[in-house]
Symmetry: C2
Subunit: 344 residues, 2 copies
DNA sequence: TCCTGTATTGAAAGCGTTTTCATATAGGGA
DNA sequence: TCCCTATATGAAAACGCTTTCAATACAGGA
């Protein structure tokens, strides 16, 4: 809403528009007395360059986008919130693309963004690979909580493998031996890695891995319900369950309780994410915390850096891994005396 | 990503850029054989005008924004999802502003948007009045699920008054007489109206209104917990509770159950919104449905219409009201025999 | 003293549209 | 036949900025 043009500012300062532009974009190019005077005037009048004119003349791309596949999932909502905040801080427009797990929508969004010469895109877990590959060809990209076999893509994710290990080891330390796992959809490597960590932890303690204890969910609440139903139908119940996210853990917890199964007395449950929402009750969910702010900030700045550096398309990109942290709540108990394992 | 400029298209068609521009924006101005030829070429080459150049030369405003105060709240997340979808359909960029209930952020977002000559803003319930008033001065606005005393603002909201009435009458019909109400923050008129409907329904049935049965929450889950604690501390428990949104209803429900209070045996609960998430369990929340798609579509098209018509600032604006619908689930029961009312 | 290089600034040429204004053509009325 | 009015198109001027290029000034080196 600036009511001035750069030319007017220039006139008021007795200089040329070029110089004002320089003060705004490359201050080091203009000598001090003038620079100060112009900066002062700009501030005083609240002048802001017309963004359309800027983007027209500088051929640079502009703006960022964030793809999430389900904005109703609190984990992604938190990411949206955080990234929005960062973008706003830098005065960068951000387009939120909630694809509803629909490849059609992914495509429409991407087409639109490329038409608008988007400066960069952040993809959260759950967006399909072809879309990401296509985006990568035309603009800068970064993946958050997701990685694919491609050295030329920047990625920031939690240390899912060790997170899974942490969860499993905690349960093992509490004397659990029969530990169920609720995973995410196939090919979601963050979930696969948590599973790998869980598996390696078991084996490190001489506990054989049983495939029947792995339930494949889809990260949504409903999956947790389905999972607990599955586990309770087994001849031998697990004594503990590790869920690849809090949402499913919470679904399992709630469903179990509604069936009069006590948590953690009958079954211990541990989640992954540490979504504040799930710790509102008397019982706090035990979980492995993902450092969402850290994930978001790294992804954001990594992307910004690539944009500003004008990184090469095929340049080898950074893969940043953020550590996780075990958060002990009230949903796991220590098994004592003769090991309880199986149906009561 | 269009690789062509309007001039190139013009050359390929043996005409001038002006004519191509006209075909794109005011087709009726160009005669048929030429128009067809140009349209054909545009389609064939997938030409799209450079949006920055367009917006630079046409002084028109562009793009929409949506303010919500808490994107983690599923009601608002659903609104975000729906409005995003509509905007995308029309190829209109949408900026999501999650203000986190923070006036500072509201201001930063609005400043930014006005600088960028935003075409219109949709405000969901929960954004502060001064911000809305300021926005209204500079751009087109519409309120969703919110209204204020100002004829010159467009509004779309649910029929909260009758929704509240529906809920209360349903409970009364089930023989409840002592009905608690969990409201939203002060001055949120959607909540106030639900309360008014509740109150009028009571009085219509000769049930006196008791202020002690009204608990003021903040629409968040935690409030539901606080509310049930409050009600259970009363010497006379309510036999039923009407919550101004599902989130608080769910909080109350969950907390009650964790205290071994049965729902609906001991206390009936009815919510407001009908968020799908809360119906995932064995027990389906009884609730008053808000027609979110309808709310969003009305808001969106009302805004678009105002923009396209170039509505006058002080013109009297439409106030659209969307009916609600009672959705019976499993959280209310009929009191029978000697009326149960009060502590057991 | 003259030359070269560097730092600072301004003039002007775009950037890709839209839009105004002018021109040309065709048709209609006198 | 001539003039006038619509209608259809093109030329060119914005839109407000960035950026290249040229100009100037000044310092240091030979």
């Amino acid at each position: 809403m600036s009511k001035y043009t750069i030319t007017e500012i220039a006139q008021l300062c007795g200089t040329s528009p070029a110089t004002v532009s320089r003060v705004l974009n490359n201050p080091e190019l203009v000598a001090d007395p003038l620079r100060e005077r112009i900066a002062q005037k700009v501030k005083e009048l609240g002048y802001k360059p017309n963004p359309f004119a800027s983007r027209l003349s500088s051929k640079s791309r502009w703006g960022l986008a964030l793809f999430v596949f389900d904005i109703l999932n609190p984990f992604f909502a938190l990411i949206v919130r955080r990234i929005s905040h960062l973008a706003m801080e830098q005065g960068i427009p951000l387009t939120i693309c909630d694809t509803e797990n629909n490849p059609e929508k992914e495509k429409i969004y991407l087409d639109y963004l490329l038409d608008n010469k988007i400066g960069g895109i952040i993809f959260a877990e759950g967006i399909s690979i072809p879309i990401i590959e296509r985006a990568k060809k035309h603009t800068k990209t970064v993946l958050i909580d997701r990685y694919i076999e491609d050295d030329s893509i920047s990625e920031v994710s939690s240390d899912n493998y060790n997170g899974g290990k942490q969860a499993a080891e905690y349960l093992i330390q509490l004397n659990h031996r029969r530990i169920g796992f609720i995973g995410g959809p196939k090919n979601w490597n963050s979930s696969d890695d948590r599973l790998a960590g869980y598996r390696d932890a078991l084996e490190a303690h001489g506990i054989p891995f049983s495939p029947e204890l792995v339930f494949q969910g889809d990260l949504r609440f409903e999956s947790g319900i389905a999972a607990i139903e599955y586990f309770l139908a087994l001849p031998d119940w697990p004594t503990a369950i590790f869920s690849a996210n809090d949402q499913m853990a919470f679904g399992a917890l709630t469903k179990a309780r509604s069936l009069n199964i006590s948590i953690p007395e009958d079954i211990s449950i541990i989640g992954f994410d540490n979504i504040p929402f799930y710790s509102l009750f008397n019982t706090k969910l035990t979980t492995v915390q993902q450092n969402i702010p850290e994930l978001c900030e790294n992804a954001f700045y990594l992307l910004m850096d690539n944009i500003q550096r004008g990184a090469e398309k095929e340049e080898k990109q950074k893969k940043i891994v953020i550590p996780t942290q075990l958060k002990i709540g009230d949903t796991c108990r220590k098994l004592i005396g003769p090991l309880h394992d199986g149906k009561r």
